[in-house]
Structure formats: C-alpha cells, structure tokens
C-alpha cells in the first residue's frame, strides 16, 4: 500500500501527500453519492447528511495510513456508518429512521450505479423548503441548492459581489437546515 511507506525526505513526503490527495479525490468521485445516500438514509436530513459525508471523507483521509487497500468501498461505508451512529447517539436517537420517505425503490438494470442516481422526493422537498425562505435568500437558495449553480454563475447572473453571495448562501443554508429538521 502506497500510504504505508515511511518517508524520510521532504520530497518523499510531498509525493505521499499528493498520493493521499489523489486517492481522496478518487474516493469522493467513486463513492460520494453512495456515502451521501447512506448518511441521508440514516440521518434523515439533507444538510446533516452533507456534514456527515464531509466528516466521512475527511476521516478516511486522516486514516489512509491504516487502510489495507483491499476493499475501499466497504471501508468508506464503515466509516460513514460510524459517523451516522455517532450522530444518532448524539441526537439521543435509539432508532434508525425506518420509512423510506425520500427514497423511491426502483428496479434498475443500468450497468453503473452512478447512472441511476435519482431525482426523488428529496429534490422536491428541497424546492419546497427553498420556497419558504424570504428574499433575497429564496432566490439564492433555489439557484445554489436546487438548480445547482456555482457561486461564480450566480455572481454573473445577479451582478452582486462574490462575498455577498457567499454570505447569503451560508445564511440560507442555516435556515434550510433548521427548516428540514422541523419537517
């Protein structure tokens, strides 16, 4: 395993760091949606699932040196489950959400899991919550979270300052998180 090599020189450390960064990117590309789906299913909240997914990959990054390199999907899945367990315990929940509120069970014959990523009720829920916000947050939230536009795109479109857009995205996220938990 490339991450288990103990480097002595600075160059070797740099190479090792680049390897770790590349491997993290590979993990996110390959299992980002899977981890998010697991976290969303277990936590039941879109924005908490986002935090848990982030924690999962950062934890994987920190513990890359302990990974045996055999089954990265199972490894990442275990980390995600651990994060969700901690989340559930912190929240004082002894029960994992049972109902598939945001999942549509679909039998799919397409070859790759990435190809049957679904736009589900979850997306509709996100739209509804964004619509609950007051201007200017409603527009920003819809553009950023629902229509998945980049900050730079919104800046071009609205003609506002980057900092202003970033702040509005940040605030709308806090409001959406609260609203989702209330639902």
């Amino acid at each position: 395993m490339i991450f288990q090599t103990r480097s002595s020189g600075r160059q070797e450390e740099e190479v090792e760091k680049i390897d770790c960064d590349n491997y993290l990117e590979h993990l996110i590309n390959a299992y980002g949606n899977l981890v998010f789906s697991i976290c969303f299913r277990l936590a039941g909240s879109y924005f908490d699932a986002e935090d848990l997914t982030q924690d999962t990959f950062l934890s994987a990054y920190k513990n890359l040196h302990t990974f045996d390199g055999k089954n990265d999907k199972a490894w990442v899945c275990r980390i995600a489950t651990n994060k969700c367990l901690d989340y559930l315990k912190r929240a004082g929940r002894n029960v994992v959400p049972m109902e598939d509120t945001y999942f549509n069970e679909v039998q799919c014959n397409k070859p790759s899991p990435e190809e049957y990523v679904l736009e589900t009720d979850m997306k509709q829920e996100l739209y509804n919550l964004c619509s609950h916000l007051k201007p200017p947050y409603q527009e920003i939230a819809l553009d950023y979270f629902y229509y998945e536009k980049d900050i730079s795109e919104i800046v071009k479109q609205s003609g506002k300052n980057v900092k202003t857009i970033q702040t509005q995205v940040y605030r709308s996220k806090i409001m959406l998180r609260k609203l989702w938990r209330k639902e």
Binding site: L24, S59, Y61, N71, R78, N82, V96, E105, P113, L118
Partner: protein
C-alpha cells in the same frame, strides 16, 4: 468520537441476516465494524436508490482536506522544533552530568597524599618561592605603614608641644 476506533481495525463478527430496509441500532453497529456486512449494505443502497450528493460537496471536502494537511504540516514542524530543543537540552544535561562525574571521580579516586609526594620539585619550589615573595611583599607593606603611623604620631606630638609653648 465514540466509535472512531472501530474504523481502524477489522473486527471478527457473526454476520447476521440484516434487513437493510429496517436496520436496528445494534445492526448498524455491526455494519460499522464488519467489512462484509458493510459491503453488502453498500450494495443494497446502490441497488435500491441513490441520491446525488450536493454539487459543491466535493470541492468543500477537498478544501478542508488541504487545510487539514496544512495544519498537519505546521504541527509536524512544531514537533520537529520541540524535539530539536529537547535534544539540545539532553546534550546540555549530559555535559553537566559528565563534568560532575569527572569532578567527583577526581575528588574521590585520586589519592591526595601520594599526589603531593609525586608532584615535581619544580612545582613545589615555585609555590614556595611565590609564598616567600608574597610574604616579603606584605611584610614590606606593613613596615611601610608602621613607619607612616610612627611619623604622623611624632609630628602630632611636636605640634602639641609647640601649641603648649605658645600658650
């Protein structure tokens, strides 16, 4: 973190027939520590339905990982500096210790009487000569100061007798 340790080592387990649709907390704990069941659970999620992660999530994670590795490097640098200082302190302590040991060894192991006997005659002569010179010098100084005192006494007596004669 309560369950952080579990991520590191693979624990042997009795694989249960878990109903992934309705998972109990204990079963979730099992998945969190079992590679085989974790792989099965991942397969179940992939087959059943997947949700697209937020578009900004990847960039956010990569940014945070870079920030983390930056902090990591700074900590490493600080640790290196600390260990260098500790090494310097250790060397200093070693020097002091060795010097003390040497001093104690000289004090206790070197026989004092013998060494005085074995000392070269030139050394003894030199010290004797120095002592003699110093003694002579101090005697001369004492004689000179005595003379000065005697002279001043004589002058004082003369002055007093003159004053009495005037009276």
């Amino acid at each position: 973190m309560v369950t952080e340790e579990k991520q590191i080592g693979f624990t042997a387990c009795n694989h249960k027939n878990i109903d992934f649709k309705n998972i109990a907390l204990e079963e979730l704990e099992h998945i969190a520590s079992c590679e085989i069941c974790a792989a099965q659970y991942a397969g179940f999620i992939e087959k059943q339905a997947m949700i697209k992660a937020p578009h900004y999530l990847k960039d956010n994670i990569l940014k945070k990982s870079r920030a983390f590795s930056g902090v990591w490097n700074i900590n490493k640098h600080i640790r290196l500096q600390m260990s260098w200082k500790r090494l310097q302190m250790f060397c200093y302590g070693m020097k002091i210790g060795l010097a003390m040991c040497g001093a104690l060894a000289i004090l206790f192991l070197v026989p004092v009487g013998d060494s005085q006997q074995k000392e070269p005659a030139v050394g003894v002569n030199f010290i004797d000569k120095m002592n003699r010179e110093l003694r002579e010098f101090s005697d001369n100084v004492l004689e000179y100061t005595d003379l000065l005192v005697l002279n001043s006494d004589a002058n004082n007596k003369e002055d007093i007798s003159h004053d009495k004669e005037k009276e």
